[in-house]
Every structure is written in structure tokens, then in C-alpha cells.
């Protein structure tokens, strides 16, 4: 270590107790005493809570009174408090990048139990930081401007609520939805628990508001295909799939559907999960937004063979909205931040063959039953089984694809309440005996437990036990022609066979099948369960590790409608705050080429995924565009003549860390 290199180095070392979190496992006093002996260290202290105001003031005072010009704080992870301590330094007039944090909590006291070993480790890490800060340089924070426009991906209730909130603040919003209409899963629900208000009644006004909002550009039947750039300026390309109908010309009169050459609807209606049929030209549901028809290219004779008399076109001849020549188009937009609200899929119960879904027609999933009980559903609200009977006994099986080692380990959170709601509705519609097979009833939420009590009082049978199988095999005549749920009733200790006319599988919630592709496209992470990962599980449940990208709703994990709306509002607030601030401060950890050292070997040029490195033909040297550089350091490691450097991660800084942690070796 050479003092000359960076002037007169005066290091202050601060060891945090973090209450007992660190101090119980690490001998903080010993670490502080040890640090005091290290070259360059002028002051070494330990303190109960370094991140508290008095803790920060300690640093500020030392900078002011003892001319400390390097600060090492051994505390928690830098991802938590690096900015706190940089701020403290800055307030005392020291360049914030003379601060180095040492992680002796997450990486030490919380993962080790042996006090001696943990203390030795803390000393090693502190020594490394002390050696490292020697080489620190004053750096300027980079500020990037924030494009005020916001992209919302996904038009379910999360996306709708986020888009409206941002738009209401005066910012322009692009709302992109993959399906022909917004509304998402919520549009398919009948009533909502626990208040039993109708989902459509509360959702459709919001859908219309989206359509009418002057600040919202709504692109349905569209998908994001590429995302470039970073916080403040994301360049996004959206593919608009052809619906073969001009959105601006169609008025939603639905005449075309009437006159379609197909007299009968014969294609599975997606919105009703195949419980009803539609024509090749259709509107997903009555309140679809935009209220524009769409043509299914896999079903339409004209699009498949080119040989149809095109009666739909005739019906629309005045407006001329139908256009079989329509092609997909691409829109490129620039936005400052992105809210991802891509939702979920329901668990496919075919993965649990013992429940007979797909084998026995009278086994349903909860989403199908939502449609069955819905007044505008395929049976106009009549609960009739696929074989045309009104069920006299209905069993609802909980935790299908949830809380199960063989499928998904997580609790899907909404199935208990959904099942209570459906039990109530089925009973109301049919008067059937309803059985709920459950492991635990989870009714945590405002008014939820009360609703559970209500359904209990309505005479629904609750059987505590995971259903072993659904079979159509009758043990005795009373079971003949019925489905039988075989279950161990753990409250009575008996294996029971319950004959049922209809079985409803309360399917769990899963990440979308393409969640991984979406995650990669937006450069965010997934949790182990495949849902998108939030930046902090408690304090930042909508931001992600990628600045300027927020997540809302079920793409982040199972939750009910109120929680979804809250998270969507929170994500919107973050996006608005970002846009209103107008800039974002970036870590100044960019790489740069030392021009006189560069030989122009071009090794670095193709390595940069952001095209930040270019070759200057005139100078015959490489050049790094600091604005494009994201600071990964890959080119630095690859530069064969050591002529690229990275701020905050200089070779010398890392070498001294290596040497520091190994000084005893």
C-alpha cells in the first residue's frame, strides 16, 4: 500500500453491533481494536446502530474533526445501507465514494454460530475493506433523465389499476395486453369474496375508464417483443397482432358475427373455458374493451383457405372495418419505467391424475365453475353438469396444485375464499349439499373469517383431509353413477367415501407459462417458485432489482383482488415518483478505456451487450460510451493489456481485497 498514491490517507473504521444481530456473534470490540492497528486507520469505533442518526453523525463528526478521508463501515449488506453511509459522508463534505461497506451481518453473524470464527472472518473482511479504500477515488454520481411515459404490461385488474393511477397523475401510459380485451382473470369471475359484489360490476367501469382516458394508449391483442435501454429510457417494441378488424372503424354492432357463414358457434370459447362455443369472428365477452370483434385465423375459412363468401364483410360494408389483409405491425416506444402485471395461470389438474380432471366430465376447476354460476356465463347461471344434471351433491377439493411437494409448495392464498364463495353460490343456485375438503381454512383478510362463519352456518360440510382420489368406481349401489371422493377425515379419523354429482377442484395459481421469457426480456429475476422477484420482500414488494421496472399483481405471487390493487397502486406511485423526480442517480461504476494505454486490439468491442464499446477508427483505439455502459466489468476482465478500468471496481481495489482477506494465509 502506498500512501503517496492517494495523498495522505486517513481511514475511519466503524463496526456496527446492529443491536444484538452482529454483536451476539461477532466480538465487535475485538474487531474495532484490530482495525485500529491496520495501516492508515486513524479512528476505529464500534457502535450500537451505525445506521441510526447518532451513528451517522459519528462518521460525520470524525470527518469534520479528525479529517477522516476514507470510511469503512462494517455492518449489514451494502444493498441495504450503502447509500445511508455514503449520504453521511457526503453531508460532511467527503466524496461519498470514499465509503466502503463490509457485510458482517448477512455474510457473517447471521450465518455462523461460532463466535471466534465469526470474529476472525469479520476482521478479515474489515482488513480487506481498509486495504481497498486506499485506492478509492472521488467519483461523480451519474444522473440519467427519466422519460415521463410509463409502460404497463398486462391488462388485468393490476394493469388496469396501475395504468389509471399513472394516467390520472398526468403521465402518458401505454397499456399492452396480449388478449383481444383487457379485464384479465377478474372479468371471468362471477362474484367477489367476501362481499359478493359482482366482479363485472366493479371491473367494467374501470375498463371503460381505461378506454376513455386521454392519457392512456391501449394496445390489446399486442405483445412486448423486445426491451432495450435502462431506467429512464427503455426502448420497447410492441407487436400488434392482426385482429383483421380495424379497431378505429369497428363500432361493436356485432352484425358481422350474426352473418358469419358459420350458422352455429362451433369453436371453443376461451373466455368460458370451452364451456360454450363461439364463431371464427367473435367478441370475447359482452363488456370486452375495446368493444371490437376479432377474427380467429385458425378458424376463419377466408383466412385459412381464401375461399369464403365473406358475409361478415358484406355486413360491415358501410364501415369497412373488416380487413383480411391486415398484417402484424410493430410499435416502438420510449418509456421511463415499466410496470409488469402479467398475471398468472391456474394449475392444470391433469397433473394430478388421481382427481380425474379431463377423465370424468363432471370434474371441474374453480375457474370453470365461476363461469357456470355467472348469469352471463355459458349456462346463464344455471349450475348444470356436463351430462346435463343439476347436481345434488358437490364436493370442492382444496389445495389442488398448492401446498404439495409433488406439484407446487406454496399456498395459493385465494382458493379457500374462492371455494367458500363458490360453495355459497352453488348452494344458492342448486340447493345441493356442498362438501369442502380442506387441509386448513385460511380466511385471513378483512371480512374473510366472518364470511367463513356465514358459509359454515349455511350448512356446507367441511371435511378436513386431503382427498386421496376421485373415482367413478362404486363400492355400493348408493355410489353408482356418481363420482366418489375418497378422503381421510382427519377430524374423525376415518377414511370416508363421499358420493358426489360434481367435483370442483380448487386449482392453485402458478406463474404464466412464459414467465421465464418475460423475466429475461425485462431483465428481472424470478423467485424459486417462478413468480417475479421483488426487490425486498417487506419494504419494496413492487420494485425489482432492475431500476425502473416494477411488478404488480399475481405475476409476483398469489394474492387476492384487494392486495393486487394495492400493489398496483404502489407500483404506479413508484413510477410517478420516478417520473416527477425527472432523473435517476446511477452508480458511477462504469468502465473506461485509458486511451494512451489501449493498443486497439478490439477484444473488448464485441463483448459488450449494450454496444457501449466501439472502435474509433481514426484514433485506432477502443472507446466506451459512459452513457451506454451499465458497469458489468466484463470488458475490463477481458482487456489483455489492462487498459480498461472500472470505477469502484478497479483492479487494484479488487487485488487489495483479495490480499486483505488472505493476509493470514
Amino acid at each position: 500500500m502506498s500512501e503517496q498514491r492517494n495523498g495522505h490517507v486517513r481511514i475511519g473504521v466503524y463496526i456496527c453491533h446492529c443491536g444484538a444481530n452482529i454483536a451476539d456473534t461477532v466480538d465487535v470490540k475485538a474487531v474495532a481494536e484490530y482495525a485500529a492497528t491496520l495501516p492508515g486507520v486513524v479512528i476505529s469505533r464500534e457502535y450500537k446502530y451505525m445506521c441510526s442518526d447518532p451513528g451517522q453523525e459519528l462518521i460525520q463528526k470524525d470527518i469534520e474533526e479528525h479529517a477522516i478521508n476514507r470510511v469503512v463501515v462494517a455492518a449489514c449488506s451494502p444493498t441495504l445501507h450503502e447509500n445511508t453511509f455514503r449520504g453521511a459522508a457526503e453531508r460532511a463534505g467527503l466524496n461519498p465514494f470514499f465509503v466502503q461497506m463490509v457485510n458482517i451481518r448477512e455474510h457473517d453473524s447471521w450465518v455462523h454460530s461460532d463466535r471466534e470464527a465469526a470474529t476472525v472472518k469479520a476482521k478479515d473482511l474489515v482488513r480487506a475493506a481498509v486495504m481497498r479504500v486506499y485506492f478509492h477515488k472521488p467519483l461523480e454520481k451519474r444522473r440519467v433523465p427519466i422519460h415521463p411515459e410509463v409502460l404497463v404490461v398486462g391488462g388485468g385488474i393490476a394493469g388496469i389499476h396501475a395504468a389509471l393511477t399513472v394516467a390520472n397523475s398526468g403521465k402518458r401510459v401505454y397499456l399492452v395486453e396480449r388478449e383481444p380485451t383487457i379485464g384479465g382473470h377478474m372479468a371471468q369471475y362471477d362474484k367477489t369474496f367476501p362481499t359478493l359484489d359482482c366482479a363485472a360490476c366493479i371491473l367494467t367501469p374501470k375498463m371503460s375508464a381505461v378506454r376513455a382516458h386521454p392519457n392512456i394508449t391501449l394496445w390489446t391483442y399486442s405483445e412486448v417483443v423486445s426491451v432495450d435501454g435502462s431506467v429512464g429510457d427503455y426502448k420497447v417494441v410492441v407487436k400488434r397482432k392482426p385482429r383483421y378488424v380495424h379497431e378505429d372503424l369497428c363500432v361493436g354492432c356485432l352484425q358481422c358475427i350474426e352473418t358469419c357463414v358459420y350458422k352455429d358457434s362451433k369453436f371453443d370459447d376461451e373466455f368460458n373455458l370451452g364451456l360454450s362455443k363461439r364463431k371464427p369472428i367473435y367478441i370475447p365477452f359482452a363488456q370486452a374493451t375495446p368493444k371490437v370483434v376479432v377474427i380467429d385465423p385458425d378458424a376463419c375459412i377466408q383466412l385459412k383457405t381464401g375461399k369464403c363468401k365473406k358475409s361478415c364483410m358484406e355486413a360491415c360494408v358501410e364501415r369497412g372495418a373488416i380487413d383480411f389483409a391486415q398484417k402484424e405491425t410493430y410499435e416502438e416506444i420510449h418509456v421511463g419505467s415499466i410496470i409488469i402485471a402479467t398475471g398468472f395461470q391456474t394449475f392444470d389438474p391433469r397433473r394430478m391424475p388421481q382427481y380425474g380432471y379431463g377423465k370424468y366430465p363432471n370434474v371441474y376447476n374453480t375457474l370453470e365453475v365461476e363461469r357456470l354460476v355467472n348469469a352471463s356465463g355459458p349456462t346463464s347461471g344455471q349450475v348444470i353438469t356436463r351430462d346435463g344434471r343439476v347436481p345434488k351433491s358437490v364436493g370442492i377439493v382444496l389445495c389442488v396444485g398448492s401446498r404439495d411437494e409433488n406439484t407446487n409448495r406454496w399456498c395459493s392464498r385465494v382458493c379457500c375464499m374462492t371455494s367458500l364463495k363458490l360453495a355459497h353460490l352453488i348452494k344458492e343456485h342448486t340447493g345441493a349439499e356442498v362438501y369442502i375438503f380442506y387441509i386448513d381454512m385460511r380466511a385471513a383478510g378483512k371480512g374473510y373469517e366472518e364470511f367463513y362463519q356465514r358459509v359454515l352456518n349455511e350448512g356446507v360440510h367441511f371435511i378436513r383431509g386431503r382427498v386421496a382420489e376421485i373415482t367413478d368406481w362404486a363400492l355400493d349401489p348408493s355410489e353408482a353413477g356418481k363420482l366418489v371422493a375418497r378422503v381421510e377425515d382427519t377430524n374423525t379419523g376415518f377414511v370416508r367415501r363421499i358420493p358426489l354429482d360434481m367435483v370442483v377442484l380448487a386449482v392453485g395459481l402458478e406463474p404464466q407459462p412464459d414467465a421465464h421469457e418475460v423475466q429475461r426480456m425485462f431483465g428481472i429475476s424470478c423467485s424459486l417458485d417462478g413468480f417475479f422477484l421483488e426487490k425486498h420482500p417487506k419494504l419494496a414488494p413492487a420494485p425489482t432489482y432492475t431500476d425502473g421496472i416494477f411488478i404488480a399483481g399475481l405475476c409476483h405471487g398469489p394474492k387476492d383482488i384487494p392486495d393486487t390493487v394495492m400493489q398496483a397502486g404502489y407500483a404506479a406511485a413508484e413510477a410517478i415518483a420516478l417520473a416527477d423526480t425527472g432523473f435517476f442517480e446511477l452508480e458511477p461504476n462504469t468502465a473506461y478505456v485509458v486511451e494512451e494505454e489501449c493498443s486497439g486490439c478490439k477484444t473488448c468491442v464485441p463483448l459488450c451487450p449494450y454496444q457501449a464499446v466501439t472502435f474509433n477508427e481514426e484514433k485506432q483505439k477502443a472507446f466506451i460510451n459512459e452513457v451506454l455502459c451499465k458497469g458489468c466489468g466484463t470488458c475490463v476482465a477481458a482487456c489483455p493489456s489492462g487498459s480498461i478500468k472500472q470505477n469502484l471496481f478497479e483492479d487494484e481495489e479488487i487485488y487489495s481485497e483479495i490480499e486483505g482477506v488472505l493476509a493470514y494465509a
Partner: protein, 302 residues
């Protein structure tokens, strides 16, 4: 023993007694498939049922001796056609792998007996060998005659698919169905594939055992099966032996042949009725005669 025999055959008590037809058909089928197979010399009881329920350690010692003997021969694949043997041998391996105390006792025991330490002997089931090593397609190709129009239900018994999941999918086993279809049998839907056959209850709490038996037979009939195909000697025996009694009790006309999978596969491959032990059947003799002997002239060659 020459190490060339790929499969080492562990008969267990059943295949030398009530399940002799299983042994006969197994060896015939392997011969027809040209799979080298040799019986494990000096084998002993696998340690099933009574031992395993009374003392896991003692049962494991019994199993371990068989495994060590197998290890000594140099063959890797120990074929245990009986479901109980299969499960007990597999379970013993798991116990040794995960319970140091049992492992220690086994080690001491083997040392005293002058046997090698347990190593990676693979305990295998006939169904799994037919499905994995031979393959459905190969069986289809090798089939020389088909039981056309005969409907059968495949029945696994309670032990083969749990808990290790190597013989077949525990929730929805289909491998036997695939094999049967490949060799020309019509397979019916059968939901009770892994339900209890009555097991040892037919000998202890007879009524209950026979009732469980009846459930299986009745459902097979309801599904339109003319016969049931099994892979377990105890299941085969239970289902085969009490049909007369059930007829008497219920008045239902149950008289259904209960086959071993190897009998059906062996016959499709060209095996002879006697060498497949088909003549040993108790129930469904008429159908057997009709399918395998009388219509011999009319065999459908493919």
C-alpha cells in the same frame, strides 16, 4: 457363476411355491427375449411382511445377505419379480443408506458372514426391465401372435409403485397397459390398479380379505375386462383362488383368469402353454382353454 448373466434372478419364496407359474413364465419370456438370466445361488427369505413389521433391522439383515450375495457374483441387476421382495430389498437399501445405526449393524453382520460390503446392486422389477431395457416398441416387433379381441385389466398391487416410483408412476401407472397393448391385448380402463388385493388377510381375517378381492374382480368386470394381468404372486394367488367362494357368497358369475404379465408377454412371443405355467390356473379355465389351447390352430400370426 459366470458374470455374463446380466440379470440375477431372486425368486423369493412365492415363485418357488404358489407363484411357480410366475417363475416359469418369467424364465420363458427371458429366454425368448434372449436376456441372460441366472438364479442367485443360496438366496434366503427377502425379509418381507412379518420381519419388516416386527424388526426393520432383522429384516434388513436378511435382505442385506441377498444383496451381498448378489454383489459377490459381479452382476449389477438383481431381478426381484415378486412385489414384496422388490419393495423389501429396495427399502433395505434405503434404510442402510439413511440410517447409520442400521448400516453399522449390517456392516458388522456382513463382515462376520464373510460377505462383501453392500455396493451398488440395482434391485429391479420385471415390469421395469420389460419397459426400460426391452422397450414397448421392441416387444411389439417381437410379438408373433396376438390375443385379438381379448380385454384385460392391468393390476399392479399395492407395493410395486411405492414409494420409489421406478416401476411406474405411483399416481397413474400405465406401463403395463402399454406393454399389453403392444403385444396385442385390448386393455380396459381400470381405476383400482394399485388397490389392496387382500394380501395376507385372506389367510387371517378371511372375510375382509375376500371382500377386498371381490371389489377388484367386480370393478374389472364392470369395466368389461375378461381377465386381470398382475405382476405380483400374492395378488395373483388371491385373485385366482377365491373366485368360487365369491361366486357362492354373492351369486355373481365371476370366473376370470388372473395372469402374470410374463405369461401374456411370453405367449405373444411364442411361448408354449405349459412352459408359461398357463395350465396352473384355478379360475377362468374355460377362457384359458379357449384362448390358448383350443384355438391353437387359429392363432393369429403377425
Amino acid at each position: 457363476m459366470e458374470p455374463s448373466a446380466k440379470y440375477l434372478y431372486y425368486p423369493g419364496c412365492s415363485l418357488k411355491g404358489t407363484g411357480i407359474a410366475y417363475e416359469e413364465s418369467l424364465l420363458t419370456t427371458f429366454r425368448l427375449l434372449e436376456l441372460p438370466i441366472k438364479e442367485l445361488p443360496d438366496w434366503n427369505c427377502c425379509g418381507a411382511t412379518n420381519y419388516m413389521s416386527v424388526s426393520e433391522t432383522s429384516a434388513t439383515l436378511l435382505a442385506a445377505r441377498n444383496l451381498a450375495l448378489a454383489r459377490q457374483t459381479g452382476s449389477r441387476d438383481l431381478l426381484a419379480p415378486c412385489n414384496a421382495c422388490y419393495l423389501t430389498l429396495r427399502k433395505s437399501q434405503e434404510l442402510v443408506a439413511h440410517y447409520p445405526k442400521i448400516a453399522h449393524e449390517v456392516e458388522q453382520f456382513l463382515e462376520q458372514a464373510g460377505l462383501p460390503r453392500l455396493d451398488s446392486v440395482r434391485v429391479r422389477h420385471v415390469l421395469e426391465v420389460l419397459y426400460t431395457d426391452v422397450g414397448v416398441e421392441r416387444l411389439r416387433e417381437l410379438t408373433v401372435r396376438r390375443l385379438q379381441g381379448v380385454r384385460m385389466a392391468s393390476y399392479y398391487g399395492c407395493q410395486a409403485v411405492r414409494p420409489y416410483g421406478e416401476v411406474d408412476d405411483p399416481h397413474e401407472p400405465t406401463r403395463m397397459d402399454q406393454i399389453l397393448k403392444a403385444v396385442g391385448v385390448d386393455v380396459v380402463e381400470y381405476n383400482l390398479k394399485t388397490k389392496c388385493c387382500g394380501g395376507a388377510l385372506t389367510g387371517t381375517i378371511h372375510d375382509v380379505g375376500v371382500r377386498l378381492n371381490y371389489i377388484l374382480l367386480k370393478e374389472a368386470m364392470r369395466q368389461g375386462a375378461q381377465a386381470i394381468v398382475t405382476i405380483c404372486p400374492l395378488c395373483q394367488f388371491n385373485l385366482d383362488a377365491y373366485q368360487a367362494e365369491i361366486r357362492k357368497q354373492t351369486g355373481e358369475p365371476i370366473d376370470m383368469p388372473i395372469f402374470y404379465l410374463t405369461q401374456i408377454v411370453g405367449w405373444a412371443l411364442g411361448g408354449d402353454v405349459r412352459e408359461l405355467g398357463l395350465h396352473r390356473a384355478i379360475s377362468g379355465k374355460k377362457l384359458i382353454e379357449q384362448w390358448f389351447t383350443v384355438k391353437k390352430e387359429a392363432e393369429t400370426y403377425v
